[in-house]
């Protein structure tokens, strides 16, 4: 019996068109723009000035708070400017502009391909490497990994879950790294397992990726027989259902435990990391390589088959550069989305630069993206059935439109994970998520304001 989460969920067509395309390394562009906000939490502070020469892997942004992360230069070259530049959503953010020269890596970074399977003994050494190399969660939220790996002393981690579900349609970058870099991912898992002091680590992969499941299972058993520290790692096949890759859904699927409202995974003894994060942890700890690159899928139904690609990019490449390298934006594309079609965001500014967490350039056609006209709610309850958090989106929508914040809080709008299942399943095309997302923000702000003075 394959496992999955217990309530809600939808089954969109997975459209993994780019699954067969091997990861290609993008050539260096002329200029890169490295954002200082590539993680959740406080923005990094730029520590270089125009005219400075930086080498690949050099720190150019320092964290400014507990939840913050280092930012490294992804290229060698001269800093041209440090200033505001618009990000994906058009919001001005401090970027460091660097004119690119041929690579000259910082000392101490191992750029070879040799696989290092011996896991360091010192826990603090591992954590320092993860922190100093700016590793953040690559599953979407870009939460600093070193913070996640240090649970508060009163909470005890029991199980590490690696998220290889990749439940969003179209995206194939996680799938490709599981096929091409499976050893590194497993070593990364073993490193995190060691840091957390847990005996069990589960790599959850959805059933629509049988090659990845076979490859990962084989890699795990090979490493278990050849090196120490790999016991307790297992690959688990999950049923295909969106949003399986949601943190709370994955915990439910793997451990059959539910995280309470406003709770954290650690409350039920779980720590969830994406497979791409695991790869970044491997690079950071075993190779001392900062997180300056990631994999990104360029895909869409309107893109010719030979242009469906998975690219290895470095942070700071302008999206327009990637689109051009791929052969330009197809004419039929009406919308370009960063992230998957369910949770991704439309890009309003293609000049924006890639970030640590960039996962895709998805071209959607007018037909796929056009909003259908909204009609009245007939109380069919499809949204409530689809909600993986057990909420009632139709009710939340009503309350949100009337600005009833107290009732919204009582009906747990703050637990919404913004997966979009309600919007996907609504036969009346009501923009449920749009309303709920705004209400959720307001409620969480009100809750924070209420609890803040008490501390």
């Amino acid at each position: 019996m394959k496992k999955t989460f217990s309530i809600g969920g939808v089954h969109p067509d997975d459209s993994k068109i780019a699954a067969g395309s091997k990861i290609e390394v993008l050539p260096l562009p002329k200029t890169v723009y490295i954002s200082m906000i590539q993680h959740l939490g406080a923005p990094a502070k730029a520590v270089v000035a125009p005219g400075d020469r930086v080498r690949t892997g050099q720190v150019i942004g320092e964290p400014t708070g507990f939840i913050s992360a280092y930012v490294h230069s992804s290229v060698t070259g001269t800093v041209k400017s440090v200033g505001l530049r618009k990000d994906l959503n058009g919001i001005p953010v401090v970027h460091v502009e660097i004119e690119v020269e041929p690579d000259e890596w910082m000392d101490g970074i191992d750029t070879t391909d040799t696989l290092v399977t011996d896991i360091p003994e010192d826990r603090q050494f591992i954590l320092d490497r993860i922190k100093n190399n700016g590793v953040v969660g690559l599953g979407g939220a870009t939460f600093p990994t070193h913070v996640k790996l240090c649970p508060p002393p009163d909470k005890k981690a029991e199980c590490l879950i690696l998220n290889g579900a990749e439940c969003e349609p179209y995206l194939t970058s996680d799938y490709r790294i599981m096929l091409e870099k499976s050893e590194q991912i497993v070593v990364g898992a073993a490193i995190m397992k060691k840091v957390l002091g847990v005996s069990r680590a589960v790599i959850g992969i959805e059933e629509n990726k049988p090659e990845a499941i076979a490859k990962m299972t084989e890699t795990v058993s090979r490493l278990q027989s050849s090196a120490k520290g790999y016991d307790g790692i297992e690959v688990m096949t999950l049923k295909k259902k969106y949003p399986q890759g949601g943190e709370k859904q994955l915990i439910d699927a793997v451990m059959h435990r539910q995280v309470k409202s406003m709770g954290l995974p650690i409350d039920v003894g779980a720590v969830v990391q994406n497979v791409a994060t695991s790869l970044a942890v491997y690079d950071a700890v075993q190779k001392n390589m900062p997180l300056i690159s990631n994999t990104l899928t360029v895909t869409g139904n309107c893109l010719p088959a030979d242009r469906q690609k998975n690219y290895m990019f470095r942070i700071g490449y302008p999206l327009s550069y990637i689109a051009e390298y791929n052969g330009g934006v197809p004419e039929a594309a009406a919308k370009i989305v960063s992230g998957g079609p369910m949770m991704g965001k439309a890009i309003s500014n293609l000049d924006a630069a890639t970030q640590k967490g960039s996962s895709s350039l998805l071209y959607l056609t007018e037909e796929q993206t056009a909003r259908k006209s909204e009609s009245n709610c007939i109380r069919c309850g499809k949204c409530a059935e689809a909600c993986p958090m057990g909420l009632e989106p139709f009710l939340l929508n009503k309350l949100a439109r009337n600005g009833m914040l107290e009732e919204l809080e009582q009906n747990a709008v703050q637990d919404c994970i913004e997966c979009g299942c309600c919007l996907y399943s609504c036969p009346a095309n009501i923009p449920l998520l749009d309303m709920i997302r705004v209400a959720k923000g307001e409620v969480i702000r009100a809750m924070r304001a209420r609890t803040a003075p008490k501390k």
Binding site: K86, I91, K335, I336, A346, S348, P431, M435, R437
Partner: protein, 317 residues
């Protein structure tokens, strides 16, 4: 049969009388003492229950007025000075005159001035749009044009101009309650002094980007050049975060700033004549003498700049 009916009537009547007495006694015993002046104050209120005063409706405001030591912090924007005078008379207190306020839309980013850079096809609400991204133009600060302010106005004083895509305030109907200002996620709408005969000068831009970037996004953006700040003889203008702001308490409506503004971001409304042009002349440009028949003209718009049709550069959202 008849006796049953009679007995029933008698029993019910007696029961009714008994309960009436009980209710009377209970009402006497547990009577909530309420200041009778609250009712009186409520009577003179406009009864709009708009919340513009900061209280939950007119009765709550009346209660607050009765409990307050003075009326300095309480003001009904809908009723204005007249109502406040009446309230003061009821309570036997002094009230300071407050200048009437009006909602002012501080954005002139029409389709011509501020070309669209992408198409927003999501739910038509400024709040939703602002939560998603910076908007469908190059300006991250200006009006989003979905009309949340129109929906918020209880008095029908704001409407969207279909040509410009910007909200227009009807000064006659606007009570200055501030509901629109609260509804605007971009804080484009501000409550400003209505001014003598409705005459006022304000900066019609809130773009905090540097001059070049602001100008690139919108032809009539304030570029924060500071010319108006230097020109103002009353120190009413401050330029902060690359955008000028006119303090309406200090502004004497001389309109020198309107003339020097290189982008036409400073607007003057309801003046009978255009702002005095001759700036180099030694004689200080006097504020145009108000003519007798200064009928409140609709908000004057600066001459629309010539522009080629807006070309959507990117096709997203």
């Amino acid at each position: 049969m008849t006796t049953t009916i009679i007995w029933t009537i008698v029993a019910v009547t007696l029961l009714g009388l008994l309960l009436a007495v009980v209710l009377f006694l209970v009402a006497k015993k547990f009577k909530v003492e309420e200041d009778p002046r609250i009712d009186e104050v409520e009577k003179v209120m406009p009864g709009a229950n708009c919340g513009g005063c900061g209280f939950a409706g007119c009765r709550a405001f009346a209660q607050a007025c009765v409990n307050a030591p003075n009326l300095d912090n309480n003001f009904c924007p809908v009723g204005g000075n007249e109502v406040m005078k009446k309230v003061a008379a009821v309570l036997g207190m002094e009230v300071k005159e407050k200048a009437p306020m009006v909602a002012v839309v501080r954005c002139n980013g029409t389709c011509e001035n501020r070309p669209k850079t992408n198409v927003y096809d999501g739910y038509r609400s400024c709040k939703v749009m602002a939560a998603l991204y910076t908007g469908d133009t190059g300006c991250a600060y200006g009006c989003l044009g979905c009309g949340d302010c129109v929906a918020a106005c209880q008095f029908g004083a704001i409407s969207m101009d279909p040509e410009t895509g910007l909200p227009v305030v009807d000064e006659e109907k606007c009570t200055g309650c501030g509901a629109c200002a609260k509804a605007c996620p971009k804080k484009v709408i501000e409550l400003r002094n209505k001014g003598p005969k409705g005459r006022r000068v304000f900066v019609s831009c809130v773009n905090m980007e540097k001059g070049a970037a602001a100008r690139k996004a919108c032809k009539v953006a304030c570029i924060g050049c500071g010319k108006c700040e230097k020109e103002c003889p009353f120190g009413a203008i401050t330029v902060e975060h690359n955008v000028a702001y006119i303090d309406f308490n200090k502004c004497k409506l001389c309109r020198k700033c309107v003339v020097v503004c290189p982008t036409g971001a400073i607007h003057d409304v309801n003046f009978p004549t255009p702002a005095p042009k001759p700036k180099p002349a030694a004689a200080p440009a006097k504020p145009a003498e108000p003519k007798a028949e200064a009928a409140a003209a609709p908000v004057s718009k600066p001459a629309p700049a010539k522009t080629e049709p807006a070309k959507p550069e990117n096709k997203e959202e």
